[in-house]
């Protein structure tokens, strides 16, 4: 039977959570929150790594199975040259953006703006399926490299979790979250709280787009002002790649 004299205290709480994350037993919402924590908290991330190393021994009992001969050619066909160029391009994009160029976005999108500060209605049905409903996480960093916010997004449910650091505190402007789309251009998600963690649901209109986005960014807008859905008016202060888990 279970041992009632074996409580998990607060210190062990993090270790246990890191173990649950490595083992992947958490529910999707719990897992997204723990992933966001992993991205933001190096000590916690190290715990997850340690668990991964220790638990991986469990795979020892799994018998190897030789892949079909056509797998390697498929892998080889997908090998891209080293990736550094991409990041530079994205940075350049944002620099251009920050000085107010609009040339990059000739086509304006008939976009839906969702102001996240308002309670969203409960979505009637699951959002249209993103290509693969894998939780995305991002760490948004400032120009100086400091982390401004971590984000976790579940394309399956449209659930979005935001955890700003203190870097965003004390600014009188209102942070707005943007999706950076793979074909170029940006899509406004809405105003966000820069001072405390928050949860949102993107709903159907945006969930599909968010599943396709490859990065996110934050602009600072004047209080009371809502920018166009495809172009921030204030400076873009932070951005980060969306990583699949």
């Amino acid at each position: 039977m279970t041992d009632p004299t074996d409580p998990i205290d607060g210190v062990d709480e993090d270790r246990a959570l890191a173990g649950e994350l490595a083992l992947r037993v958490l529910s999707p919402a719990e897992e997204a929150a723990a992933r966001a924590r992993e991205v933001a908290d190096p000590a916690f991330a190290a715990q997850v790594d340690a668990w991964n190393c220790q638990l991986a021994g469990l795979a020892d009992e799994i018998a190897p199975v030789k892949p079909s001969a056509n797998v390697w050619p498929r892998v080889e066909a997908g090998l891209a040259p080293p990736v550094a160029a991409n990041d530079n391009r994205r940075l350049a994009f944002w620099r251009t953006w920050a000085v107010g160029s609009t040339g990059l976005l000739a086509a304006s999108l008939a976009a839906v703006v969702v102001i996240l500060a308002q309670p969203a209605p409960v979505p009637p049905a699951p959002a249209p399926a993103a290509p693969v409903a894998v939780t995305r996480v991002a760490t948004l960093t400032l120009e100086n490299g400091a982390a401004a916010m971590t984000l976790a997004y579940d394309p399956g449910t449209g659930e979005l979790y935001l955890a700003p650091t203190t870097e965003m505190a004390g600014d009188t402007r209102i942070p707005h979250l943007w999706l950076v789309l793979p074909e170029g251009g940006v899509q406004l998600v809405g105003a966000i709280d820069g001072s405390a963690t928050s949860r949102h649901n993107l709903g159907r209109a945006l969930a599909g787009t968010a599943g396709l986005a490859n990065a996110v960014a934050v602009s600072m807008e004047a209080p009371g002002h809502t920018p166009a859905a495809d172009k921030p008016d204030g400076p873009v202060v932070a951005s980060g790649d969306l990583q699949r888990l």
Binding site: E20, L23, Q54, A59, V65, K66, E76, A133
Partner: protein
């Protein structure tokens, strides 16, 4: 062809792959793909899906090889973790329709049997893990093994064992902490 690499050789090949060396990457694939397909197949129980995920796994490995740090993880541990997580993501994305092929049958398709050099870790690490798991009660140790090998959540484990969710969480959390204490000692 089976290319057997020691842990150090594998770590080196992975490092070279991180520099864009495709031949080194091919050696990593030859040495580890059967192990990783074993891992993804146990989770997805469908050969085609498991191979799709395997392909995706190696593309990820190619992109991330430069960030592999041999001082922090063994190469095979790092690879297994990526493959397992990718397979679980696919399983939970709903893209996989679990077929009813019994897993044991699936293994008959092409099981070359474990080769010594493909053993996951140095045998000592694995033995210690098994020793420590053996000190947990069978139910808890079994739940942790199943969670790892099949990639299932608390919810699924609780249904299978026919216990409340909270009970399953409590078993595994306590089991993990005991396991950790044992492994660290």
């Amino acid at each position: 062809m089976s290319a057997l690499l020691t842990r150090d050789e594998l770590a080196m090949a992975l490092g070279q792959a991180g520099q864009g060396d495709r031949a080194a990457f091919r050696r990593v694939y030859e040495a580890t793909s059967a192990k990783l397909l074993g891992v993804t197949l146990r989770i997805l129980a469908d050969r085609q899906l498991a191979e799709d995920v395997l392909q995706d796994t190696y593309l990820t490995v190619w992109r991330k090889a430069g960030s592999f740090d041999a001082s922090r993880a063994s190469p095979i541990t790092w690879l297994v973790t990526i493959a397992r997580n990718r397979a679980i993501d696919r399983l939970r994305s709903g893209a996989s329709l679990r077929r009813s092929t019994p897993i044991d049958d699936a293994f008959d398709i092409a099981d070359d049997g474990p080769s010594p050099a493909e053993a996951l870790e140095s045998g000592d690490d694995v033995r210690r893990l098994n020793d420590c798991l053996g000190k947990l009660d069978d139910r808890t140790g079994g739940a942790i093994r199943t969670a790892f090998i099949e990639g299932v959540t608390y919810d699924a484990l609780a249904s299978r064992e026919n216990v409340p969710l909270g009970t399953m969480k409590s078993w595994i959390r306590r089991g993990l902490m005991r396991l950790r204490t044992c492994l660290d000692s």
